[in-house]
Subunit: 774 residues, 2 copies
């Protein structure tokens, strides 16, 4: 294989050359269909002349003439812009005549993803700026390209996302109201026992319909949705992508409408977050936004913004939505994502404000407490409320978990329809005699938050005030784990407001009229929700929902106490749901790993693992791909065992296609891996839009069936700087690397030789497939 060494030498020589001049065109990729294919992407175009010279030299050393096909990828200034232009020049026997027509025509819309795999922007491309001052320089922090057009596209994307999601969420809410009114109408027209029966019957039917949609369309639509988003944003986009498909959107929205319309006391903010994320993901399909979706970092940031939109559009709380999404979803947060979240959430919140002032649906009302209400001596009372709400929140999580475990233990095979039917029957049977339970939670919360005495509220007396939170507590705990879309924020809000108002009324009896029970309802709502979700930003949401910020100190104190007390007992509900559903989740270590184990203890020794040599032939590669269908990245080692780099399944699959296309022209059997200075290939860059899937779901389909017949050459660009550790590295170091850098694989070397590989699955919790929870 003389060509390998030539190209390696070439690359080395080029890489050794420092930067100078020729700012416009900074990198090129050439690919020949000569005796072997050359493909390289160099960091700086100033090296290109040298590269060309060496290429010519390489051709001089190869005996037979042929054609040289060249693909160019230019780097625009400091940012990678995957321009491509294919040019063909005939290689004559006189190599100095090689015609290399360099073109910097820009293909704005990438014609095929295949051309761009080598140029995808890495996760860290969107880290802080590499630019000085100048137009939109600070947005170069946020946008890998730093151009005005790119920024405008991003702003369009974020605004449109906010508006669309808010509209969609409004329509869902409207449908829920329609169903509720219809049910009430039917039962009230008939009245009496028949009305009762009809009310229960319609409720049960709708709930069964809800779980039916999930069963038929997509089981990914079950549950809150936030745990899945947690998993995706912690770095498991590739594995969890199926939760973002269009059919999940239908299942989630139809299921949500039927579930809430059917009277189950579940919330809509978690499903709304899921719906927003699906909408964002579907936007990537739009041609205009294609550029945005190739950047992995930006993709994660836009998904985080979508989460914020989901929350903001549920409550009209843009700030709270963004903060809540930061707290519940990430373990670390890039500050540059903040403005993106705010922009999207604000768009959503404006739409919310416009729509929810219409009398079509219920909306949260602002409170009107007198600012002087909060005397400092009451702070202790608020703090006690906060602490007890934290304990209650922990108890709630414990109940949800116990109910789920009980069901899994005693009725593992029980039908989803029996489960849902049973709970729906219970809910409807309770709601008909006590119409308060059937009330929209927003109306009940508005009533509880009122500053007026209890007897002047619309719906509440002492009996209702005691019954409502207790009954809701039980019903919500039963409903959360059901196999249908079910959020938990709004029910928690209601339960907390109920308990808080009750506490306030009791305090009023003890301490007299200085106590305004409504303010305790506000604090209780925030604190119980914080106790369940462990998010301090529940406080911000309540400020935005009530429109009053004068209770800042008592609300913050009780929320903080609720979080601390809750954490003393167990994990947050969302983390518990992640554990219950066995979702992959970076921040949690695998159960059989301890932080003090070493890489050596957990690595897969390279002997038993798939790896390629530079001279592997396509049929071997295909057999390895087939043997390890879930493997995303493969190491490349030379004959002495030295690690040369890593090559991704996605690249292999797309190259194999290329080989097939070229095989008509070329019949040479040699195969060359060339080490390339390529951006992220070892990390889990994935097919983003559904028509170019990859990984475990589609790899077998993508590897051409007639590959074995083809004996053409294949060239695989590989990442020369994958993440390397020594065999003494501790698991906590590895875990840290996985959390912060999100690679899909880490390589263990000893004196440069690859001795083992460690996948995310070897360190991180829950990398099994999602279980069906019914």
């Amino acid at each position: 294989m003389p060509s390998t060494s030539i190209v390696t030498r070439l690359i080395k020589r080029c890489a050794g050359e420092t930067d100078s001049g020729d700012e416009e065109n900074r990198a090129c990729a050439t690919r020949g269909s000569q005796q072997c294919f050359y493909y390289f992407l160099l960091g700086a175009f100033s090296r290109t002349s040298l590269a060309f010279a060496t290429l010519q030299q390489a051709f001089m050393t190869t005996p037979s003439p042929g054609t040289l096909e060249v693909d160019f990828a230019f780097l625009d200034g400091a940012d990678i812009v995957p321009y491509t232009a294919a040019r063909t020049g005939a290689i004559t026997e006189e190599p100095t005549n090689v015609a290399l027509n360099v073109s910097n025509e820009r293909e704005d819309a990438p014609s095929s993803t295949e051309n761009h795999v080598g140029c995808r922007n890495r996760w860290y491309d969107s880290l802080p700026s590499y630019r000085g001052r100048g137009i939109f320089s600070a947005f170069a922090h946020c946008t890998p390209r730093g151009s005005l057009r790119y920024l405008l596209r991003l702003v369009c994307f974020l605004t449109l996302l906010g508006v669309t999601a808010a509209l969609f969420i409004f329509i869902v809410d409207l449908s829920v109201h329609g169903l509720e009114k219809l049910r009430n109408l039917i039962s009230s027209v008939t009245g009496g026992a028949l009305g009762y029966v009809l009310y229960v019957l319609t409720g049960v039917t709708l709930c069964l319909l809800s779980t039916f949609w999930c069963a038929v369309l997509s089981k990914e639509a079950e549950g809150s949705g936030l745990p899945q988003m947690k998993s995706i944003l912690s770095g498991f986009y590739d594995r969890m992508k199926k939760s973002l498909e269009l059919r999940v959107l239908f299942a989630k929205s139809l299921g949500l409408v039927c579930a809430i319309g059917g009277g189950l006391p579940v919330g809509w903010e978690g499903p709304n977050v899921h719906i927003s994320c699906i909408i964002a993901h579907q936007f990537y399909r739009i041609h205009f936004f294609r550029d945005l979706c190739t950047d992995r970092a930006l993709r994660l940031q836009t998904l985080a913004a979508a989460c914020a939109v989901g929350l903001a559009s549920s409550f009209g709380a843009p700030l709270g939505g963004v903060l809540y999404s930061i707290e519940t979803i990430a373990s670390f947060y890039l500050v540059q994502a903040f403005w993106k979240g705010i922009l999207s959430a604000l768009s959503g919140a404006i739409v919310y404000e416009l729509l929810y002032t219409t009398p079509l649906v219920e909306a949260f009302e602002g409170t009107s407490f007198d600012p002087s209400d909060v005397s400092r001596t009451q702070i202790l009372l608020y703090a006690a409320l906060g602490a007890s709400m934290g304990a209650l929140g922990a108890l709630f999580i414990r109940c949800v978990r116990s109910i789920y475990e009980l069901r899994m233990k005693h009725y593992p095979g029980s039908s989803r329809y029996i489960l849902v039917g049973g709970v729906a029957f219970l809910a409807a049977a309770v709601q008909y005699p006590f119409r308060l339970f059937a009330l929209d939670p927003r109306a009940a919360i508005n009533d509880l938050f009122k500053a007026v005495p209890l007897h002047m509220t619309d719906h509440f007396g002492w009996a209702e005030l005691i019954l409502l939170p207790l009954a809701k507590f039980v019903l919500v705990a039963l409903s959360i784990g059901l196999p249908l879309p079910a959020g938990v924020f709004v029910p928690s809000f209601l339960i907390g407001a109920g308990f808080g108002r009750l506490y306030g009324e009791l305090m009023r009896i003890i301490f007299g009229d200085v106590i305004i029970p409504g303010s305790y309802a506000v604090v209780g709502a925030a604190a119980f929700t914080a106790g369940v979700t462990r998010a301090i930003s529940c406080a911000v949401i309540i400020f935005e929902v009530t429109g009053q910020i004068r209770h800042l100190v008592p609300v913050l104190i009780s929320v903080l106490l609720a979080v601390i007390v809750g954490n003393a007992f167990n994990r947050s509900l969302y983390e518990t749901l992640v554990l219950m559903k066995h979702l992959p989740y970076m921040p949690i270590l695998r159960r059989d790993r301890t932080p003090e184990m070493t890489a050596q203890d957990i690595m897969h020794r390279i002997e038993s693992e798939p790896h390629f040599c530079p001279d592997a032939d396509p049929s071997h590669i295909k057999s390895v791909l087939d043997k390890f269908p879930s493997r995303l990245v493969f190491p490349v080692v030379d004959s002495n065992g030295f690690l040369l780099g890593a090559v991704s399944r996605r690249v292999i699959v797309s190259r194999l296609h290329g080989v097939l296309r070229d095989s008509a022209e070329s019949t040479v059997e040699q195969n060359v891996f060339v080490l390339l200075d390529v951006a992220d290939l070892s990390e889990n860059i994935e097919g983003l839009v559904d028509e170019t899937p990859s990984g475990e779901h589609s790899s077998k389909g993508k590897v051409p069936a007639n590959l074995q017949e083809s004996s053409a050459s294949i060239v695989l660009p590989c990442d020369v700087s994958p993440i390397i550790v020594t065999s003494y590295s501790l698991v906590r170091q590895l875990h840290f690397l996985f959390v912060m850098l999100m690679p899909s694989m880490i390589y263990v070397t000893e004196q440069g030789k690859l001795i083992g590989t460690i996948e995310r699955e070897d360190v991180v919790y829950g990398c099994r497939e999602t279980n069906d929870i019914s």
Copy 2:
């Protein structure tokens, strides 16, 4: 050197052993003063028995008898707890008689830092939990030890920090008011021209005194303080530690009192942030909190919390303070730091509320706009205001920079006293005839925010409204770069409020009484401040300051627009100050680096760089330390050039002391580096409390003078998994690693051999020493 290979073999064998049983004692460190010293820290104590056996075997192979000194470090469950116990056992010629008295007595208060260097918790120890459920399990996320006592200490620390900083800030504010009153009293008593002269004279004197304090006590106290905190929290704690010394606190507070008292229109929130951080840093000295300060991650988190306290105590805005500190200081934010910031800031804000309701000082007043004021059609007007405030903010930054550059260019050697005296004279000369300019900014802002018409405000007419923002704009731009403590937030707030009110009044003339000019002042204040600082959380601060959140949408829209428009022109003021002062700052790339350069282009080849072999002798080590006084970490390579690990200057210096102490007993000349599975040693673990300094400032002092006479052995534990890259790695990859993982050095290897090193300084901007800006 047979001993090297023995110990290496030993370590390898131990590391290969998997975990089992013996949970209580999980690691041991042994050190012998035999012919060679053995020192190792293993991950799991189950390996200890094996380690002991192999140690005995090692002794069997070494001919001469001696004593074996053993230090033990136990790992407690999943968390590293640096227990130590020194035991000495006599080694006879019969090695099976080695007495190894394992003790798990706990030394709660580390008696000397030297014993613990190997056990310091790494930055990522406080990443997400390695624990299951159980008491305070979720706080195991946040606290490396996860114990209740540790948590209580942390809560104490954070609360005390909030309270102390708020009190300190209040006293500073009180002193400022005292000085202002005194000056007014003096000038009003005399009156006329003499009063004018006295007013100007006292003003100039006080300002000169302010810069005098900075010159005498510490030049680190000059400027806002936020840029220094940016630098520290981006990962340059070791280089910038001198900004956190006690004398800086005195310089900063005295200087601040004199500067504002002397009538300079500078703000106090930046200095307050600096003051809070110094207080936090000084708290580390307290014995009770010692444990907390050994954890680098926690240190950064508590410093971030201190920043939040500084802001929260300046405005009584806990939420805004935390968010503002996130936005202006970090490039990424660990979510677990959020509750710490909130807790501290809330403590500070409660103290603020209690103190600022006293009539001793001015405070921000809540606004009382009618919620229905904001009609939707006005949103366009608000947006236009936001955009123009963004442009004005950018202009302001440009002015500050130009003034500074002009001064540097034309008067580089000009005395600080002339500069300060000149600006102080100008300020005082303007303030005496226009007493509005001498008004406390909070009083002026309260007036501008009022919902009443202009003629009903206390201080403003049309002339004042036009003059005030323009004059302040010029004066503040002049004052910011002066060599005395000077914040920018409050002056920006005032300028923005002035421009906003002016805009509002103009709109009122055009559109009539539907416009409430006061609300435009609120929006203008938030937008101009956002245009200067590029922080969206200015919106949150204004909600908390005014106590009204109903203007949520217009405020957020205009703030967002201000940030976007401002970013179109230049960097934020704080980043500009970082650049102007040449502070080291991770997120900015060095000017002569492009993201596409490779590691090979920028690395220092190992031939010219300091590195140690395992058999280096103390005198050689000392000479290398002296030759490279600013180097924090040194690589260890074997005779074939393979990278074995890295050893920190701190460890070397402390070991050299150990050698001196032992040298009485031992006179053997051999020296062994043993590769150890030690927590963070390669990263910039630094002397935290001032009595154990390290690095460039003190290394020469610390290396014992009589070292050269001493020929004793030295054992240096080294980190076996430093960060390694290949020579093809791009600068943007390196930059990413530096930003996210904050190492002080990265190693470039080729097939396992060390070929070069890359320091932070080679990639990151501004690693020169801080320049004196006067």
